[in-house]
């Protein structure tokens, strides 16, 4: 059935709530208003009090979710825009992430944090980042990011079933995107596994969230062919899938909607540089956003985000000269 990503998320939550009475959904305006992004439509009506609106108190309700998760519930908490985690990060990375360890394995925290992320919609500097870097490196936390309705449904269901904290970063620009699939258990996506969504020989394009369509488009347009990997989970990420592909193509280009500094691709590039150096036929390239706040002006925001043209330009250069041309802003003379 044709579904928008926000509908797929609601469907995933609905199916988990039907299957397990311990699943509850909390967040600002997720119940009566059915979510600012309409990702919880129908839940309050069907499940009543298990779906609750909260005050504007991220530290309070995220902390409460940690306590509820530690005592038998499976809370799914919505952080409307991922930046809001900046007022509540402690509860996720310093408390929830460490409970299993700091209880000698007695206490688990089956908590899901859903946060909308990314640019492209004109929300400005404080409502457009992806910020997975606040979570990567926090032991015990799984971080996933869907690329459309089907993967959102599959990841939300897997996240809700997981016995450790899972953060699902939902690209805001995809909520309204439609995809055709039939929601069912078959679509549950094991956390930590990526998908090879396009096959090719010349280069491996690793993408996630909004950049999956960018990479696919680039690979379709170009003179070369590419393996396009939708990573789906960035912590832990699918080493086998990436390594197998890069070993075959000998070239890696990571397409990230995250800054040049500290972007999620640095983990992947580092692992490849450490273990597949001999297989590499060209430098490893990252197509990222520049290290600037997300600009509002539409033309600038479009320029800020990774484009398929840039991906094509980078791969063309790798194949032509075996050298990387560097990110577009350095080519245009940006200074730090």
């Amino acid at each position: 059935m044709l579904m928008r990503m926000n509908q797929a998320i609601a469907a995933g939550l609905r199916d988990e709530m039907r299957a397990d009475p311990s699943v509850v959904v909390w967040g600002e305006d997720v119940a009566e208003a059915e979510g600012v992004f309409k990702a919880t439509v129908g839940l309050h009506e069907e499940f009543g009090d298990r779906v609750r609106d909260t005050p504007i108190s991220e530290m309070g309700f995220l902390g409460a979710a940690v306590g509820a998760a530690a005592t038998g519930l499976r809370p799914v908490v919505e952080i409307m825009f991922i930046e809001f985690l900046g007022v509540a990060l402690d509860q996720l990375v310093t408390e929830a992430a460490f409970y299993r360890y700091l209880s000698g394995g007695e206490v688990s925290v089956p908590l899901v944090v859903r946060g909308s992320v990314g640019g492209g919609l004109g929300f400005g500097a404080q409502h457009s980042q992806t910020l997975e870097r606040w979570l990567i490196g926090s032991p015990g936390i799984t971080v996933a990011m869907p690329s459309g309705a089907r993967t959102a449904y599959g990841l939300i269901r897997a996240a809700t079933r997981d016995d450790d904290p899972v953060v699902v970063l939902e690209p805001r620009a995809l909520y309204a995107e439609r995809e055709d699939f039939d929601p069912s258990d078959d679509h549950i996506i094991p956390l930590g596994t990526g998908e090879l969504v396009q096959h090719g020989d010349d280069v491996t394009l690793v993408a996630m969230g909004n950049t999956v369509s960018v990479a696919k488009h680039a690979a379709r347009e170009a003179a070369w062919t590419a393996d396009v990997i939708d990573l789906l989970t960035i912590q832990p990420w699918d080493r086998n899938l990436v390594f197998e592909s890069v070993a075959r193509t000998g070239r890696l280009v990571v397409v990230e909607e995250s800054p040049w500094s500290g972007g999620w691709g640095t983990d992947i590039v580092s692992a490849v540089a450490g273990e597949l150096l001999d297989e590499l036929r060209a430098p490893v390239v990252r197509v990222t956003t520049p290290d600037v706040p997300v600009p509002f002006a539409p033309d600038l925001e479009a320029r800020y985000l990774p484009t398929s043209d840039e991906v094509v330009a980078q791969v063309d250069a790798l194949l032509a000269s075996g050298r990387s041309i560097g990110p577009w802003w350095t080519r245009e003379g940006a200074t730090r």
Binding site: E28, D29, E32, A33, V36, D53, T54, P55, I56, S57, E58, M59, G60, E83, F84, G86, V87, L121, G122, F123, G124, A125, Q126, H127, P290, D291, V292, P293, P295, F296, A297, P298, D299, L300, R303, Y304, W329, E332, G333, A334, T335, R336
Partner: protein
Amino acid sequence: MSVELERRAALADRVGRLERMLEIRRTEESIQAMFAEGLVKGTTHTCQGQEAVAVAVAAATTQADVVTCTYRGHGHALALGMTPTSVIGEVLGKTVGSIGGVGGSMHLSDLTIGLLPTFAIVGAGIPVAVGAAIGRRATGTDAIGVATFGDGATNIGAFHEALNLAKVWDVPVVFLCENNLYGEYSRIDRTTPFEDLYRRGAAYDIPSRAVDGQDVDTLVDELSVEFEAARAESSPRFVEVKTYRFVGHSRSDTAPYRRSGELDEWLDRDPIQILGDRLVAEGVLSEEARAALESDVAERIDRATDDVKAAEAPGIEAMFAHVRAGSSI
């Protein structure tokens, strides 16, 4: 004197206040119309119904004072003196905008009129206003800080920490809560134990009171008393302003969640109507002059809107400037 400071000075006069409230109303309407037309992406939060609060804050502060406000900041910016072109320009992402179009509706700024960059994170501006008061005082002025925020923001930690800190450090800052009864789509009774938020000031021994936000005459007087007390005693005050937004929370919100009849009750207390009627009744303004004022303002905003539409979008250099000192492309 800059045009912004002249605009600020114009609020000394009651007719000037009426004119500014009209200007805010028309500006917000123009912005909403452009969003409706699909001319703008993203979101916007307008303040129809709360114009008197913005105008009274600007009228009761001095140029050295520093104000922090939220994503619902167009009214405050205009009241403090920012031009409609600058506000609309920022909302549309044009070079004529307050910060050149890189910010958008939630990000206006002009410290020369006492406005720090507006805050898109609920509560974030409250402790910042405390520090701004300290910073201004350190430079030898008798300035105060004014933190404006909503009812929903009183449930976030930054509110609590800021009020406590201001009290124990004796900071001349006024915490001004615009209680419009709703935080996004949730009515206050569903998120907060009581509606009279001024009561929360007692948890910090901060003198606190509630005032009506629809009558700009009384509001300017009441706020002036509190602002001057904070200034003179170098200590914080908490003022809850009872008001209401006549529109939805943001661009697309039709506010189906309102209590029935509530909007109409508040529309009867339209701050523009109240002051306009009174000025006419007092003979300060003739009906004709009032009508002329309204059409003047409407025309002015239409012109500003057209100018902005015709204005330039920022170039690539705007994206790399001001990231850190000296950054550029």
